[in-house]
Amino acid sequence: MLTIIYRLIILFISILIVWDMFKEKNAWNQLTCAMVLVPFILRMLMVK
């Protein structure tokens, strides 16, 4: 149960990151968001 909640929190933060990428005008900041997103994807899938 705790793992499911944990993964939902990661999914929520990942959505916020993606949301921010669309709001962001500066491409470098968008790239930064993309880099942050990678470990969140891996963690959400419990790969790493």
Partner: protein
């Protein structure tokens, strides 16, 4: 569509591509290593046979039994407590693939913390694998982490308070050699510890040896650490090893240093508990380039410099400390401990063949003993 939206979609696709490529690499490390049953292996079992809660779990490690029809003692060898200490697991694998027991029993767990083999430590630049060329092709073994994979046990507490009320760093709650004697209702790592303790108790192991490696700058190195009940045996073995030109420091297990094999195996079972350390530069903090070659050869100019400055607890030169030397030390010390146990307790004699000497391993190379 706005320009920044197009860029965002491009970067999101890039993120997923990077995650896919790295994810495949991480998942590859979940695959088990190939360990071949040698002529002396009579049967195998799993930790879950001793603690059923581990059934179906990743960390349900295989136990290899090398048994004789002639009654005698039982010696247990544990490798792979810390998978970033490769000589530990490789010594156990060499025994499984080569040893033949003529009296008593030898029981080997080569990968104690199997979960820790399924990943390696972030930001350490550790190699993912180590390879050996054999007559039958390349044999590959995983170089893992010191601690249980966080996909199997999370989150880490800020402070890990062990079962004795002692405070350790939070990450140590995933360190197999801090969780003994284990707890059947504890965290994932403590359950593995409990399974190993149950195994020792149920199989009535007379002598139990836990193999490790240490950083060259760590004081407990090239050492045998003994529980107080194993002190006489270890003392005799250290003197025998000195006569073979192998220097070992004898350390007595501190009575209040809880959670470690050399303390809790002895306190919570009747076994004679021993822990051994060899010198491994690839886990040290002073190392330079970190790769497979460092793990296998120990050659590192930073450690040579550190030795010149008197900062190390082992001699260090440009020849490094190759895996053959480290495995040879472990196996020779193990044989010497068993020989002395046979003298102390003749009714618990364990006799075996097929284990190469220190000189043979160094001359022929480790890979020549792999099937």
């Amino acid at each position: 569509m706005k320009k920044n939206h197009i860029i965002a979609i491009g970067f999101i696709i890039l993120s997923f591509l990077i995650a896919a490529v790295s994810g495949v690499s991480f998942i590859e490390k979940w695959k088990p290593d190939m360990i071949i049953n040698g002529p002396g292996v009579t049967r195998t079992a799993h930790l879950s046979d001793y603690f059923p809660d581990l059934k179906g779990e990743y960390s349900d490690s295989t136990i290899y039994f090398l048994e004789s029809e002639n009654p005698g003692g039982t010696v247990f060898l544990l490798g792979g407590t810390h998978p970033n200490e490769p000589a530990s697991m490789l010594s156990a694998v060499l025994l499984i693939e080569n040893a033949i027991v003529n009296q008593g029993r030898l029981i080997v767990i080569p990968q104690a913390n199997l979960s820790a083999f399924s990943h390696n430590d972030p930001q350490e630049a550790s190699p993912q694998y180590i390879h050996f060329a054999t007559d039958n092709g390349i044999r590959k073994f995983r170089y893992g982490s010191r601690a249980t994979n966080p996909i199997h046990q999370w989150p880490d507490p800020d402070i890990y308070i062990n079962q004795f009320g002692q405070s350790l760093s939070g990450g140590d709650n995933r360190n197999l050699n801090r969780g003994y004697p284990g707890n059947p209702s504890g965290n994932y790592t403590e359950k593995v510890c409990y399974a190993i303790m149950e195994f020792i108790r149920k199989e009535k192991c007379d002598l139990s040896i836990d193999l490790h490696e240490a950083s060259p700058e760590y004081p407990v190195i090239n050492a045998i650490v003994a529980h107080e009940r194993s002190g006489d045996l270890a003392s005799m073995a250290v003197m025998d090893l000195q006569m073979q030109d192998l220097e070992f420091n004898l350390e007595m297990s501190p009575p209040t240093f809880h959670g470690l094999t050399h303390r809790e195996w002895g306190d919570f079972s009747d076994t004679l508990a021993i822990l051994m350390e060899s010198a491994n530069a690839s886990q040290g903090r002073l190392r330079g380039r970190t790769d497979e070659a460092l793990a296998l050869t120990g050659k590192d100019k930073m450690y040579v410099k550190a030795a010149q400055l008197g900062k190390l607890y082992v001699p260090y030169d440009e020849n490094g400390h190759p895996i053959e030397e480290r495995v040879g030390r472990h196996l020779t010390a193990m044989v010497t401990l068993i020989n002395n146990m046979n003298l102390f307790y003749p009714e618990k004699t364990v006799e075996f063949s097929g284990v190469p000497s220190y000189q043979e391993i160094n001359e022929k190379g480790y890979s020549s003993y792999l099937k």
